[in-house]
Symmetry: C2
Subunit: 520 residues, 2 copies
């Protein structure tokens, strides 16, 4: 006897989804939630600074109201101020009070990608403290808008409780967010401080100030005023187009033939390549109107794009990697290693998204011996601190690379590996942006990069060993040669000869170059 | 000179979000996508079987059309058939063609939780092959509905291409899904087979049949017809209520006073407790109308609920754990260990969700020596195979437990630990349901459980060592006592005495009981 189901089916809003499943957005417990909230708001501020092309000044204050929450946790007020681009007033309510609403759904390298993090921090604050968020912003430098907001979770819509407009006498631009949330600072502190420290390494043009709940001030001063070349928005590469994207492009295009459609909407397609592709691979007449393509033709077109080998590789012009010098400087400043090698891999592409991998290896100095290689991970200039073992870089460093081959003993040697991936789209595997998927193309680039720098380290270590042996050999000569010379001279009744030229003649390696590691 | 930003802000639909970010739902590459699609559809089928209270018969066929995709991948057809509850016809289009639409947004133990997995498999199939999905289902046993669907990703709505209705002569109930998708079976195979194997262990009442693309048949026959007690829906526990949930409850309640409101809508609150709570802790009059509560009073009420210690612990009646016997049987069948200990922890609660942790440890037998403890993870009777190191159970087993204390050397001993968490809500930290958050309450229960079973193993190992020493000691006696006896007898000119009683008298431990480990 089967029972007929009387299941109720219904729809929930995205805000409701993340309200029910806050764990997947990095808000699993009060400590983690505090870390995630700080991080999401700081990253928005860094992005806003880059957009405004001003070196960011970011001020973060976390204060405890003394109100106790569930075991060990308390209610905190988190205030984040920046001098970035500001948010246009008409977008403020939705940008901060609606999930999946934002300005970052585009092909441009940015820290934010999901249009979720800032809103999630506010949503978490609301459900744990039932307090509204205050957003103060000026995007035009003329007026300052102050909003007091809550989120209608069930309908995924902002509720504006107050909206004030002030005149902006000083032309201030930027954004201030103040929200209350339940947290546990004592457990979150190490991760939050490590987050600021590593962020200072990869964003050396930013001033970061953090005042913690005990009133302690942590200040990371900018090392340079020079902002890196800003990332620019790019067009999609034909290799990564699927039918869905193609249909969306055709729906909005103004182009009236296939050649101009390809040239207008795709990355690095010129007239010659467009014609060759259409005639040789896709077999679609160049004069064809894009909006007239049938469903079958669109599928055919997309498949041909994946097969065609004549497209130019994606350009990395739109990306803003750290650069070898900046990366090296950050590592040297932080860890003072005796050897460091940094490589930038050539730009590559996965699913049509260009990406660049930068890899560094450092040895000795202040790198602690932890019994394993230490891995630092960065993505679009943000440090990734959680869930290391699920990251593609972990897989490369701990499973794919045979360190013995490079004369490295991970259990004994003080070695740190740094991996920075930048892309118009980082394939995060979690909404909390903790780790990167093992997309084959990215994995390959990281692997090649790590092998490159490991080879340099291997050479350095070989040399170090050879130099060590040589030093021991010379020590023997230096110890006995003068004595032998003296005894022989005494025996012969002569003055002892000068042994220095003799000693020099047995030197195999130039010991004086030994410290050159840092420049390799 | 600051540049005024001209950022475009816009809203995207949930389907669009997951289309753009398929990596976070477990669809990072063709191999992983194939695994995730199989898994999501099989789990829906297992849930449907439990709902129908029929031992599930699930048939999965994966066939390759020979069409090549991107490097190494091909287009596959995935067909999953079950004899479960079926989906009511009017819900089919949305249940399979809309993200965040489903029947599982409730307090009941189920494999599915997000209302996302099945739709995500179909969405991934659509964007990689541009083919529609076929859904055939009968929920009432009278009519069979066949839908051919695609997803309008931009608007998160199903598009019905065809809808046929057949009469159902045999009274068949169940669901059949057939979808095309790009995948890479050769790389996905080990995980898919492991998934079926482990699922057979935790769902021994299901018949699972899998036909792979090479035509190989894998069949996991049910070991029992007896279905476990089905999980039932439960009311929320007051401890886990936040203001948002409270407001939603007040909005829908029919109750006209606080006492009946508490009794009606909350888990295990009776009249006495309701009165004590209202008068002593919340200071809200029992006769007060719920719908008249002010915002401040609701906040006060929720805070009082978190403080009040008089509520009864959540009952686990609504949960359906594996049970010690079933768990042990599965482990013994799979690994034939020489020792196994299984414990079910008492029910506990996190954020108002009841949960039960079951933990087992096994030693020796067919457990391979891998150089570390092998961890098997299950949640609501599904095996979790990816991202082990990010799971709370991994943290417990590899970081919190001091194995030396239990006389276990993880690098040498063949030890496997099994952790099963069941709850009305598993706090997954990823949309792909790969790992569980380190919620403090769950972490504590797993830790206590692992310590419990580790203690048993420790006793067994101590005994094993003692028995081994004893055997060596007896070996010495056995070897020399007869000889001494013979020599002494010969010396004395007598017949050698019977040494057996003497040997027996030096036995300290009953060696014959040594194999009793399995029953401990």
């Amino acid at each position: 006897m089967a029972v007929v189901s009387r299941e109720e089916f219904y729809e929930i809003s995205p805000a409701d989804f993340f309200y029910r499943n806050r764990d997947i957005a990095g808000f699993s417990n009060p400590a983690r939630a505090l870390y995630s909230a700080v991080r999401e708001l700081v990253e928005n501020s860094l992005d806003a600074g880059e957009l405004a092309r001003r070196p960011p000044d970011i001020y973060v204050r976390l204060s405890c109201d003394g109100e106790k929450g569930e075991e060990g946790s308390s209610v905190y007020t988190l205030r984040v101020e920046d001098n970035g681009s500001g948010v246009p007033a008409r977008h403020i309510p939705q940008a901060f009070g609606q999930v999946f609403y934002g300005s970052k759904y585009r092909l441009r390298q940015a820290r934010g990608t999901f249009g979720l993090g800032g809103t999630m921090a506010i949503l978490y604050g609301q459900i744990t403290t039932n307090s509204p968020v205050h957003v103060i912003s000026s995007a035009d430098g003329k007026r300052i808008h102050e909003y007091t907001l809550m989120i209608d979770i069930k309908n995924n819509r902002p509720i504006v409780l107050k909206h004030k407009v002030y005149s902006n006498h000083n032309g201030w631009r930027g954004t201030i967010i103040e929200t209350k949330l339940e947290g546990e600072y004592s457990r979150a502190m190490p991760k939050i401080l490590e987050y600021f420290r590593q962020t200072a390494v990869v964003a050396p043009y930013a001033n970061l100030t953090f005042v913690d709940p005990k009133g302690r001030l942590y200040r990371f001063e900018r090392a340079t005023e020079a902002m890196p070349k800003p990332p620019v928005e790019t067009k999609p590469h034909p290799y990564g187009i699927d039918v869905e994207t193609m249909k969306r492009m055709i729906a909005v295009t103004q182009c009236r033939d296939m050649v101009s459609f390809l040239r207008e909407h795709f990355h690095k397609i010129g007239r010659t390549i467009a014609l060759r592709f259409l005639l040789e691979e896709a077999k679609i007449p160049p004069k064809r109107k894009p909006k007239r393509l049938s469903n079958e033709e669109i599928v055919k077109l997309v498949k041909a794009m994946k097969r065609f080998t004549g497209f130019r590789a994606p350009s990395a012009d739109c990306l803003s990697p750290l650069g070898v010098e900046l990366f090296r400087a950050g590592i040297v400043k932080e860890l003072k290693p005796e050897f460091v090698s940094v490589k930038q891999r050539p730009p590559s592409v996965y699913s049509g998204y260009p990406f660049i991998v930068e890899v560094a290896i450092a040895y000795g100095g202040e790198i602690p011996r932890t019994g394993d290689i230490i891995l630092y991970r960065f993505a679009n200039r943000i440090p990734l601190l959680y869930d290391e073992a699920s990251d593609v870089a972990w897989k490369v460093v701990h499973q794919l690379v045979n360190w013995k081959y490079y004369k490295v003993d991970p259990s004994k040697d003080p070695v740190a590996v740094f991996v920075h991936v930048c892309s118009t789209k980082i394939p995060y595997r979690s909404v909390g942006k903790e780790f990167i998927a093992d997309v084959p193309e990215i994995e390959r680039e990281i692997l090649n990069g790590v092998r490159d720098v490991a080879r340099d380290l291997s050479l350095y270590l070989s040399r170090k060993i050879a130099v060590e042996r040589e030093r021991q050999r010379l020590d023997v000569f230096e110890k006995y040669l003068p004595k032998i010379a003296r005894f022989s001279a005494e025996l012969a009744g002569r003055n002892p000869p000068d042994v220095k030229p003799l000693l020099k003649s047995v030197v195999k390696y130039g010991l004086e170059e030994e410290e050159g590691g840092l420049t390799s």
